[in-house]
Amino acid sequence: MAALQTGTQAPDFCLPTTPDQKVSLSEFRGQNVVLAFYPADWSPVCGDELALFNELVSDFKGMNAEVIGISVDGVWCHVAFAQERKYHFPILSDFEPKGAVARNFGVYREKEGVSERALFVIDRDGVVRWSYVSPIGINPGADGVISALEEINKKRSA
């Protein structure tokens, strides 16, 4: 399965973030979106990756970008995880049908039943402008995302 290529329209989705709240990608038209797929809540590496993005929420906002996390965990698990880690961005539950959104983005791992650790930067028109699939145990950092956002904003203001 290959991750969605740069330049393709990101498939829309609408997934729960809490038991009574849903978030869809199309709500973010006009803003850049950093979509962070990760294999599972609570595993140490994901924690570090999301912790880093959590520190950068306001920097990302300054670049007209919102962060969204996404994994196959259930919504109650997400609620507990987000509360414990004090995340300032939504994490979405790609739970039923399991991994459907990860599949649409080409980052589902059939064998393990989880998504890859993958990052997509989606522009204000919903087009994928940058993506990166990192080895599953390695936290990719944020430098690639920031460069991609700078590139998008530079082109727009040019």
Binding site: A51, L56, R85, N139
Partner: protein, 174 residues
């Protein structure tokens, strides 16, 4: 391989021989338990390589995970204004479980700072900006957690600094 941005400069806190063939940069967080475990290991590495190694510390506080981390980092920078950066750095890593404001005030006196001055220095704009700019430089450099290391400007992902530095020294010396 991710590279260190910006390179080490006089703005950094540097320990050891300024002409050393190897420069080790750590991005660390005073409340991070892994950094706490790394602290004595770094001391050992410094003793082992002596004049062959220059050590630089940059702040990478994950404030949302570690509520005391930013103030702790600012405390070291404030102490640094009075030439006591490393004294505060060491004290905080040796007392990681006590990083409340009162604890930090106590440490400032213990390392010979005047408390009134230290309190003022803690809210100095340059102190606050230094911690922020260290964090930003870390993000640019591809830091993904703490501790993260750079050896001669390149990110080191392994877990044996002594081995890595020995290898580089043998290359540098030919």
């Amino acid at each position: 391989m991710a590279g260190l941005q910006p390179p080490v400069s006089e703005k950094d806190h540097i320990q050891g021989n300024e002409n050393a063939p190897v420069t080790l940069v750590e991005y660390g967080d005073y409340e991070c338990p892994y950094c706490g475990m790394a602290y004595p290991m770094i001391k050992k590495v410094q003793r082992h390589f002596a004049d062959d190694l220059r050590f630089v510390f940059r702040n990478f506080p994950l404030s949302e995970s570690h509520p005391h981390a930013v103030q702790a980092a600012e405390a070291t920078e404030a102490a640094g204004l009075r030439g006591k950066f490393w004294e505060m750095h060491d004290t905080l890593y040796e007392n990681q479980d006590a990083l409340e404001t009162d604890d930090i005030f106590l440490y400032s006196e213990r390392i010979g700072l005047k408390l009134d001055q230290f309190k003022k220095d803690l809210s100095n704009k340059d102190v606050i900006l230094k911690v922020q700019s260290d964090f930003k430089s870390g993000v640019r450099s591809g830091v993904n957690g703490t501790p993260n290391y750079f050896i001669n400007g390149f990110k080191y992902e392994g877990d044996n600094l002594t081995e890595a530095i020995t290898k580089i020294l043998s290359v540098v010396r030919g």
